[in-house]
Symmetry: D2
Subunit: 448 residues, 4 copies
């Protein structure tokens, strides 16, 4: 990951903060009170050091939190929230907490939900706005999905900005992944060009947990929980048949966090494949020989593969992209299944091969407690930032602390699972799989 | 369903019961004691009457239960249990309870588990027997799958019988569906021909709940529970996108009980298709027009389809069979998906169509409480029957009572979900779907 | 249980059915259609026979179902629903399905929910009516509790009837236990005296599963599921400490179905106590000696006790009653705990005794799939009955079929768990506990 | 929290590391390999800064991880693991991963489990050692509790050390809270005095999440998950009765993390009380008036109270301690319940007050995925430390990284939930409760 320079970390501001915050916090209050956060409060990024003498310069991000003075007069604010991209556990919690925080903490009179992602800002679709009420959002956090609906792909920035301006929207909360945040970035920049005092605040949503400066994104943990259930079923299937082999395909376009997390949590996986690590199938050191050995020794095997893994195996096949611009990966799951079947058939070894693709099932469930808490906080910190007139930023998170991350830092790269990380070492220990299943020379990293 | 004659209900017996039961029950004990069950105790099959005057002859089945006198000397019994066919929640509970009942209630010294279904009885495979111990089975009921492993398909009857005879097995418990029970029937008959005093007792296993004389089979309810979870996810996906349409394929080769149960329980399904009911896709009264109307009115739709539904739509395409002799159904799920996509594309109506096939996920989980209780009881009643020297029978169940069903009654037909049943009426009410989506004339029943 | 005579089974009718049903069912429709149910359709009660020669007279109940002709003009009906007594999984499903069936199947224009049980019919409390809408009830089945609120105890019948008459209510659905149904019975009788054409239909609600003629009540299965979770925790606690003994108190005032069901499902209980079976604590054959033996042999023990068990141990202590008239049982859970602690202390044997009372936790959860289906059907059958002008009846259920049970049959007695039943035999087998832990002579049954 | 000086962070070592690690990691391996960790690798403690100019000196902890050279010859190691104190989700995962890591990663031939906590090291109890095998531990992570059993309280250090020395134990893994780690510290020091090369490594176990230098302890998240379920039930009960008030008592002796986490996750709590914040009950600003207002406005209320909250309300009542030396708190739950009942009775306002104490239920369940991963890693890092001859340390954790914390740092203080933290601000926002419910002057912090 390329590291930013200190000057890259400056947060855009809409202007002077002239209004006192209605929040009942004392800047210098006693031991038992929360307090306002100063713009001078920072959070360090680096905590790892190889050696003390080589200590790198610290990188400090602006800390998120309620500001004592606001750019907007809360009693006159019109706010809107939009959710984009695929489902992710916790989106409804975010919608709800943004609404509640605006309405009850700040006294904002009008909060709108935009239907079906950015296209709700394009009048050509006619999806429109919903004026949110307490009754509408009261119980939505108990359900999966997104109350507002979602869609993929960009919309014309000027059209969207026209809609927002016509409606008199002061702040827009954009819940989505890197594509969504690119759109948010563009909106914020366009507003700046028009001198429109629009606060655009991004709330990171990535079930794959692959947005940089967000060490843990909401929904990810719930997805791992569901993925573990799937693996438990796969394990039962594998053990239930002679030489049972079950392949589970999990989400993870560019990063293997779900596959790795579910593997470590389940402890029932024998081989895990992630986008970050290349692997071969053929001899001498490819996967199939290792699988055969395992099956002959133990009578069954469970394989987990992230959807973005092993794309190098498809060679020069052309790639397609979905409406969000994401690469449509070649189907590594069915490819592995077919290669495994062919291998055992050729070797005249019985094998009962099954394939499980839980697909949407791990992303459409309600948030578990960690994700419920995370999404609640992302939402509330986004509101604090917007009320203070900050814009073109994303709420980041590490070490239990929330920060302001300039939007451009998260739209140009993905976070990856390092093969040197504690998480991947846990996977190796839990599976007992070889550290690398490649035939030399090792190709370059396959993650895109 | 063809009804048997009273003489068809006689249960085969291995001979005179000369040993007293070690169970501490009094035949004429007081109010607080359980008691032995006489062979004269019966359970009625019919409870529905259209009109009192037209009352049909009652049909009475022998009631299951512990007998006061046993054919086998418990202290010398060698018993074996085999599990066949696909996974089903509760198999491990059955294995465990058969073992515990034999060992602790009857004092049987040797209980064997046969590996990987009937092929474990065929020395050609070399899978062998496991001598079961308390430690082995203690916690297996907490996990999905089958501790013994399973396989599909028949094995040569005489070979299996040789194996059982060589091992000195006195009683064999066969856990499986109709194919398995056909095998059990053949084994019992072959043993009779050899004058081998082998008790063969079938324990019905069918996640589809389609074995006759078993009103509720273990595992079915758990599968419905998991299917409901899948539907909840599908519902979130459907509502999360403009004109979201999600198709969920559920188990149910010949009977729609899982699809119907999950639909009624979830209350979030708009169209449910089962093998028992034909349907058309095209105008004037086919499904696609109804779906289009629903989507245009409400913006989303959830469709549940049993895997055996709509096979008539494939016309004269040849059918294949799996190792168990089950028809390999044409894939109605992807067919529906493709037809829906084509329909909306042709009509130039936006539709976001998703397809979910949870496949093994709904059958590889541990038993819920109802299934845990059911499987426990099926197991214990099977043991009672075998100890009393009964053979060539299946444990049946209705009205909270367990009965002895001659094996031949369950191997020739399937149980179906009647479109006139309370269950199907509930589906119609919950979905609001048309009673029939066919273009006249109505074809004959499609269930096989 | 005292059996009724055939003349006791006649269902009260408000009068001639002059209106055609709007339901799209054909009385003589084809194979694929549901159909209307005739009043002549009956369901047998008895299925068990000791011996064929002694066959008792059959008892036939009127079968529930949609009638072809209705007493009420659906387009003019005002209906109301009230929920009384303690929470039970599935109440919200009942409310929702009554509403949906009335509104969408029958086209009833006005459906009201009554707040907080019968007191909502007493203007003195001012709780009032809610006019139900689709939006209100759409998702309530996904949550535990009762959307309408509940309360205990009776209200003046004439006052309630005045309220209903003033509002022009044509039919009242009473969801509750035996106390509630006594109130419903009184209301129906009072309406008859006034010649008010009010249909009063009871929907049985009893988490304890103790209403006669209802073989399985909604909510019971879900409660067992939660109780099993509690027992799993208790088991972990018991094994986690030297001589760990954990007592779990479960619901079950008069009937031990929850305790027995959870015990059989869990297979981790060593002693289960229910109201139907007396037991002693002291030597020679009391519980404490058996417990001591178990703990010394195995190092831990799990005990499940229904709240109504062992009341005879409190001797002549006076009993109190709650607002519903239910006996407030002496606290057998803490009593057992204290006696166990004292016993081991006295015997100078280490014991780590813990007590778990999950109380409300097993009744406030959403309905599982079986209960969701059951409550849906109870609701819809109640609606069918009311539309046909039937009154003063409860919806009964056995053998998968729903029936009309005259209210007076269920208000005078409770259903009990027979110690001779398959269920209790399963408990004895699963726990290994002695058949009876009493010192002679055996006292009379303790169930009230 | 008092911060240590750099010299306080030095980790004790048993001596020179003469044996190469059998782990297949390269110190300077390529991009796709994990690698050994040098003793020079450090992890920063501070990430928050108020202002850049006031930047405090960094505090660096030794980073945990596999060392390239080991103190012990793995092929000759005898290791032991002991679990102490109350149950906590994940203990079995720790036991299992310690065993697997020792056996399969390092090739350690003998691993022992010590029965029932430290008393298993005291021959007076005769509980003894279990030699662990793969079969024993294979599935234990799927179940709650501790496979080894546990107990509270200290044992004589020299006696324990004698046992370990007699058995030739080289390394002891101590899973427990601060009391346990005090014992581990004493053992390590005593071994040092005897020149016994015994590695004592602590693995922090605290369901309350209150051990310093462990930002997130395993089991805590699972407990919050269960607590949220309890609150959902409480919410249903509260809304189910007129003026329903439900009090839920949750774990949390000294720290309110469980109460705060469950409150934020559930979003259904109206008042939360934690040990860190004092509160009054009486006017003018005490809790009861705020509760009354809430109930009159909204008709129900849910209250969550940590067991250690509000102890100041008991004034000078003497305190007792349990075998672990933990203060036995006065029962704030029933006290609140009684005061609430009295308040509403006195004010002649109807209130239906219920009290739920889930007690053991939230700690005896299996670990969720996060806790499964955490406990796996704590276990494996503890093994790495011990193999390298490090002793008298605890595995610490923050920012996704694991560190070595000198034992003495964690035995003298507890971690607390700061009222200024993001977590507590989320509680205030979610509940809407007043920032402080005290009558001046504010008492000192009540946390002990």
């Amino acid at each position: 990951m390329t590291l930013p320079k200190p000057e890259d970390l400056i947060i855009h501001s809409l202007g002077e903060c002239r209004f006192p915050s209605p929040l009942q916090l004392g800047a210098a209050s006693g031991e038992y009170h929360g307090e306002f956060m100063s713009d001078a409060a920072k959070v360090r990024f680096h905590v790892e050091l190889e050696r003390l003498e080589g200590r790198p310069d610290d990188l400090f991000f602006e800390r998120a939190g309620p500001r004592e003075r606001l750019f907007f007069d809360p009693s006159k604010v019109k706010a809107a929230i939009v959710t984009c991209g695929g489902l992710c556990p916790g989106i409804n919690n975010v919608i709800r907490s943004v609404f509640l925080s605006l309405k009850y903490n700040y006294g904002v009179p009008e909060v709108y939900g935009i239907r079906y992602g950015y296209r709700g800002l394009n009048p050509a679709y006619g999806d429109g706005f919903i004026r949110l009420t307490h009754e509408m959002v009261e119980n939505i956090h108990l359900h999966g999905g997104t109350f507002l609906g979602s869609s993929r792909g960009p919309q014309p920035v000027e059209v969207m900005l026209d809609t927002l301006a016509d409606r008199g929207i002061d702040m827009l909360f954009c819940v989505g992944g890197d594509g969504t945040q690119r759109g948010a970035d563009a909106l914020a920049q366009a507003a700046r060009r028009r001198n429109l005092p629009l606060a655009v605040v991004g709330i990171p949503k990535t079930i794959d947990n692959d947005i940089p400066y967000v060490f843990r994104s909401f929904g990810y943990g719930t997805a791992v929980e569901k993925a573990r259930e799937v693996i438990a079923g796969a394990h039962a299937e594998a053990k239930g048949a002679p030489n049972g082999i079950v392949i589970v395909k999990l989400m993870g376009r560019n990063a293997g966090f779900i596959a790795a997390g579910a593997t470590t949590a389940s402890q029932e996986v024998n081989f895990a494949f992630i986008p970050e690590l290349p692997f071969d199938l053929d001899p001498p050191n490819g996967f199939l020989a290792h699988l055969e050995k395992r099956v002959l020794q133990r009578g069954h095997a469970v394989i987990v593969v992230a959807e973005g893994a092993g794309q190098h195996l498809f060679g020069d096949l052309p790639v397609e992209r979905d409406a969000s611009g994401n690469i449509k990966h070649h189907d590594i799951g069915t490819y592995l299944r077919d290669r495994i079947i062919a291998h055992f058939r050729e070797r005249r070894i019985e094998a009962n091969v099954k394939y499980i693709d839980p697909s949407y099932l791990i992303r459409s469930v309600p948030a578990n407690c960690d994700d419920a808490q995370l999404s609640d906080r992302f939402a509330r910190y986004a509101v604090h930032a917007a009320m203070a007139g900050k814009t073109d930023l994303l709420i980041g998170y590490w070490h239990g602390l929330f920060v302001h991350v300039p939007m451009h830092l998260v739209t140009s790269q993905k976070k990856h699972l390092s093969p040197k990380s504690s998480m991947w070492l846990s996977v190796l220990a839990a599976t007992g799989q070889p550290v690398l299943m490649v035939n030399e020379p090792v190709p370059e990293t396959t993650a895109s």
